[in-house]
Amino acid sequence: MSGARVGVVTFPGTLDDQDAARAVRLAGAEAVPLWHADHDLKGVDAVFLPGGFSYGDYLRCGAISRFAPLMEELIPAARAGLPVLGTCNGFQILCEAHLLPGALTRNAGLHYVCRDQKLRFENVDTPWTSDYAPGQEVVIPVKHGEGRFVANETTITGLEANGQVVLRYVGNPNGSLNDIAGIRNEAGNVIGLMPHPEHAVEELTGAPGTDGLGFFTSIMKALVNA
């Protein structure tokens, strides 16, 4: 057994933490629960910020969570290179914390949407995506009411030019600019995506197929080879 330890954060109102921990384990790593109110990253090698409605998504999704004591530890660690993946509410928190550019806003259709979403990988140059290939198409569920990625023009141009767009929707569910479903920071260690890979890791449950498992096997390999 490897020593790869992936932290899974729980805020009040986090919902997909159990799923994320299961996915981490299925990939062969250890899932370490991290609690929002602790100033303690427990020495993990990577962090997964799961989806949900932290603080009820009141005010703006992720707006209150980003001030949590745990975030005070996580923000500098991420800046220093700790691999961090945020999905859905986790992505929103990463944007609110300015670890990723842009913001996630109300879906253009004004409805919450849960569906099995076709996606295309654009850039796989991150510790969370090395098991995928550029151009590869996968199906992974989305489920959100506020997933429309927006940023000013310079930011978008920069993201595209630097290869920071990781995932694009094939059939845009929410009106995101440039069909953007997931991005990474410049260094490549912090990624945010609206889709939920942790819901596509087993044949029996969740979305059809196991297309999401690659995120977890990728980080596992990255940590073991590190």
Binding site: Y55, G56, Y58, L59, I64, F67
Partner: protein, 81 residues
């Protein structure tokens, strides 16, 4: 072209979970001295013509039927300077 502002707030006796969650979070974020927060909606309605009485009556009707939910919300209306 005139702009009318419609402010919509939950009636005072109705629970405002959003406002409460914000108010509860503030001390933890280092903000002291706030006793309550309520969150509502603000609409900017741009008119094609001037904000005369007829137009304001129209916006009022719009607020009553569409912008606010009279079962749980109150609204106020004013012309932007």
């Amino acid at each position: 072209m005139a702009r009318v502002i419609v402010d919509v707030m939950l009636k005072p006796e109705i629970l405002d979970p959003q406002g409460q969650a914000i108010a509860r979070a503030l001390p933890r974020l280092g903000f002291a001295g706030v006793s309550a927060v309520r969150q509502g909606k603000r609409f900017e309605v741009d008119l094609e013509g001037p904000a005369d009485d007829a137009a304001l009556a129209e916006v009022r009707k719009m607020a009553e039927t569409l912008l606010a939910n009279p079962v749980i919300e109150d609204f106020t209306l004013r012309v932007a300077e």
